[in-house]
Amino acid sequence: MNRWLPSPRLSAVLCFLWLLLVNDFSLGQFLLGATFGLLVPIITRPFALQRPALQHPLKLVLFLLMVGRDIVLANIVVAGLILGPRRRLHPAFVEVPLDIRDGYVITILASIVSLTPGTVSADIDLQRGILLVHGLNVGDPQELIDEIKRRYEAPLKEIFGC
């Protein structure tokens, strides 16, 4: 927005987070939270990525719910893999070509990949648009690529319209 209040929404969220963190909704804590809300965005502005506009907020909520469910399933699957026989594991590095070019959205995608079934994002090549993923147990690399693209990249692309 302007110099002293670059992102009012972030400021409000930070102030609210502070109140939740101290679990004390008094005036003093509110003032302290408001101070953080003003200072933090000003200090971090040089590092902040420009977020593309949300095209479908409702779809984002549904998408996050689906990711939450995947995370719970991922935990159970990975727990099974850890306790099962090691010989059955087929780890692999897989290069996933990305359609998304926006750094902010790629960051979200990479984080989701790290949180979900047996995959950790290991590196990103922004020039070539490739995400390097390490899978704990990969049957068919192409299948993994297709799943990441279909399940996570496509909805993100639609939600942020990029």
Binding site: I71, N75, V78, I82, P91, A110, S114, L115
Partner: protein, 110 residues
């Protein structure tokens, strides 16, 4: 406190402890640096998540007012776990960590 809430809290705490234990077992059992990364980033998120849920439930019912610290801890954990896993993987590739035999694909040069 109602018995069923106590039971639910107990189940959640045990579930959380079990997943955290499995994550630690993964650190010992897996054969190379990269496969070891998987345990702590995943099994631990659900482990910590369950314990936080148990804590939220217990203290909300016990004190009669909603306790929200725990939600924040969970959110922060979910924001930071992927970032630390990513950086660890990058550091591993930079340091030329050995791959478990049978690993397909190659890590990138850093």
């Amino acid at each position: 406190m109602a018995v069923w809430i106590e039971g639910l809290v107990a189940v959640l705490v045990l579930l959380g402890a079990a997943f955290t234990l499995i994550a630690s077992i993964g650190l010992v059992r897996m054969r190379d640096f990269y496969t070891r990364l998987h345990g702590p980033t995943k099994a631990s998120t659900l482990g910590v998540g369950s314990i936080m849920l148990a804590s939220l439930l217990f203290f909300s019912v016990d004190s009669g007012s909603l306790s929200v610290h725990e939600v924040l801890i969970t959110v922060f954990l979910f924001l930071t776990a992927p970032v630390s896993a990513h950086l660890l993987a990058k550091a591993g590739m930079h340091g030329g960590e050995k791959l478990a035999s049978g690993t397909r694909g190659k890590p990138w040069d850093q």
